[in-house]
Symmetry: D2
Subunit: 270 residues, 4 copies
Amino acid sequence: MRLNIHLTAALSLPAPTPTTLMVEAADLGAAQRLEESRLYVTPFRVAEPFRDFYHNPCRRLLMPAGDVRLEYVATVSLPGARPAGGEAYEADALHLPTETLLYTLPSRYCQSDLLVAMAADLFGGVRPGFARVQAVCDWINAHVTYQYGASDTGTSAYDTAAQRVGVCRDFAHLGIALCRALNVPARYVSGYCLGLVPPDFHAYFQAWVNGRWADFDATSALPRPALVRVAVGRDAADCAWATFYGYGETRWLSAEVTEARDDAEGDTET
Amino acid sequence: MRLNIHLTAALSLPAPTPTTLMVEAADLGAAQRLEESRLYVTPFRVAEPFRDFYHNPCRRLLMPAGDVRLEYVATVSLPGARPAGGEAYEADALHLPTETLLYTLPSRYCQSDLLVAMAADLFGGVRPGFARVQAVCDWINAHVTYQYGASDTGTSAYDTAAQRVGVCRDFAHLGIALCRALNVPARYVSGYCLGLVPPDFHAYFQAWVNGRWADFDATSALPRPALVRVAVGRDAADCAWATFYGYGETRWLSAEVTEARDDAEGDTET
Amino acid sequence: MRLNIHLTAALSLPAPTPTTLMVEAADLGAAQRLEESRLYVTPFRVAEPFRDFYHNPCRRLLMPAGDVRLEYVATVSLPGARPAGGEAYEADALHLPTETLLYTLPSRYCQSDLLVAMAADLFGGVRPGFARVQAVCDWINAHVTYQYGASDTGTSAYDTAAQRVGVCRDFAHLGIALCRALNVPARYVSGYCLGLVPPDFHAYFQAWVNGRWADFDATSALPRPALVRVAVGRDAADCAWATFYGYGETRWLSAEVTEARDDAEGDTET
Amino acid sequence: MRLNIHLTAALSLPAPTPTTLMVEAADLGAAQRLEESRLYVTPFRVAEPFRDFYHNPCRRLLMPAGDVRLEYVATVSLPGARPAGGEAYEADALHLPTETLLYTLPSRYCQSDLLVAMAADLFGGVRPGFARVQAVCDWINAHVTYQYGASDTGTSAYDTAAQRVGVCRDFAHLGIALCRALNVPARYVSGYCLGLVPPDFHAYFQAWVNGRWADFDATSALPRPALVRVAVGRDAADCAWATFYGYGETRWLSAEVTEARDDAEGDTET
């Protein structure tokens, strides 16, 4: 499947402001191939590319004062079929790759240390592995209400565990926190999603099961038709699409994702 | 049933400290008759009796510096049988007695405003009335683990909703908060309980159902053999057995409750 | 001084909803005389008056589904001069009137138990009495930024102590919590205020100093020209202008307060 | 200066438990030379060494059930004099090395996003650079009380900002959060400290000023005579000396640090 991504955003800044952007689709080889990827800042500024701690593609620049327009255009090619679940197993903590251990620890929005009893109560009896993480997602999907405006940037998994209302970011945080409380490495993914209404950034998570990072999306009862990863991190604090070192306001934002129709190439993957 | 209550406590204070005590069993007429009730402070101090906002029996005094010993001895007579549930009904908010409305509002440890979605998710489909409050208690009893030391005086219903571990105070707070989130008036009760191990103060709650305040105790899967009410309030903040206007330390405390054996009176209620 | 109050509000309700209203100016004798006070609900409904726990004037009614318009018109007469401070003293906790003790305890939005060290650090060295409470207000006014939208109905004094941004409700909560942490009884007041822009409800607080409840308003560096009390309580949870037992949305609200010009009466109090 | 470190700890585990240990002094070249470093687990187990995300020296092993004794013995050589402050400057966010940007983001225990107004209020007028971070430490040292037992493993910088009481871990978290709120990269350091009573692990922090990571210790009004770094991370969640994937209890722990007296070598660095 090939996807076109078209992000447009209007920002307003009271003063020139150092800013980090994380809006570019990651280039992950066969798993997510970046055919085209262009970022425009108007008025024109060079946005210096760099990789953060997690090797996510980032840019930084001095945003000018006043109105700024961002546009990001990309074409991404995803494999036609997701890898099957394979034999379900889950490494115990002793045999996890050491680079996954960071993702077992609590973080800003995923206070897994406080949700150990809840996770044990709900999922302690479920057999470890892919199905258990799916059970976490199913529980969240059934018991947390999706509602704009009921949460904000201060809302954490701890809040969502009690308040049971939020948006994709909150669903992901709760999923991550419950996985970590079960000693399953889990990390946050920001990205693009085909079929979202309204067209916006999306957030989901990955858990380390069956020896790989597998995608999970607690916001949706059904598997998503296509997810495009931008950044991974411990939670939303690490994956903000824009981090202003100062103040910046997002006036509006649209992240359209459409399936690329390219007859010439005879795309048969749909 | 007649009960003897014997409270002994050792306090230590660095300086003379104004203190409010709420340790005396309430005299509630037939529902809880106070046959005897004596409070001793050593070194001797007069503890002035008064009624607080909720008409609970309180005392206040200037606690002397150093070691202070408290002793409270009471005999309480309770009706042999609890009033039956009667026809189950629950007043809607419009027809609640106005004096119960205070107990529909959130309080320090019972943030019912934040648990509306959780209450609706868990109990929205249960028929209102006594049975629904009992369902709240049953859920708490099944999903919250009783454990000393896992909570402290800062722990609230919001915390317990997520952390799912605590003591009787926390069980009561969560029960109250969930009831209020369902628009059922609920209040905290501090008191004494027959059969507690170790012998300590107890906390439970009352909900307004079937036109009266009915006792509920989420800490126990079975009905308690006997509960003796000391104080009611919106939550533990209103019912502390000792409030120090300054600093005071409780070195130890024992609250023994035993069934009075009074052959002469031919007590046949057991 | 005589004031005209004109409240208009537009509500929208998805279903008939039991509702409590607290919008009427209190009649406090010479301290605040209610000359006229009329509440209209459109479509017409009878709103039954009652007194709550704190003896505040309340109304309750079954709000009809759909659009509802509220109008409240009042004329209030206030004494021309506020009582002078008098000799500054502050009762210690032992000699406080028992009916003020409730207001030394923590509540939903005023977690004084958690701010004891902060209060002692900032105000422990200030001589007790009126001036110390004023010092609390001055500190809040200097260190908390007034900003719409930076706080919400979940924000508490604990949050404001750290976040240092909010609206009048938050300023009042922090003032109350710091007073209680100093063992000074303090309570929340909702009401009307002359000169507010935009014209809205106001919140301030009262502390028990010099043997009476004195008004304090941490939101303003200067004394307010006129404050009209509607309700008192432990915090905003007790004084909400509308409590919906269900769901209700406020589309807009205006609370205009103007000085009454009544030449005929020869009002010489200005 | 040469230091001997002697850590002894007694653990108790109900079952064999995968465990990560971070107790070994880091080998940082001239800045902190590791002359000797030996870790013993009794009963004997091999503790596999690895480097975590931050390149901290870690070990992991399957802790056996029952009583386990840990002993760590090290000799560390530190430069006789700390590098002088040099010309004070602080990079703006645009010119920070990209590898420091992670440490400008909020984390589990350092919610810098919530303390922006507090940091601006207290330190907005202080000239950026080393002296401003020192001003942060001085403020914390003056306004937060050091007290065992007043905080726990759930306590965060947000709590300490309001509660103003805690231990070295809390002091470090608040320092880090305030620095990040000022856009100064700051990170947590766990380690050993000469002269602590009782001998325990220590926590302090580093801020990126003058183009390097500089040590700061808000717990102490005076500079520490010697700090030995074990691990760095975003906060205490990343630097726990023992992380149990299951349950483990620390029965007691002692971390003695003494100055090495080695006449033969003619140590003249004191």
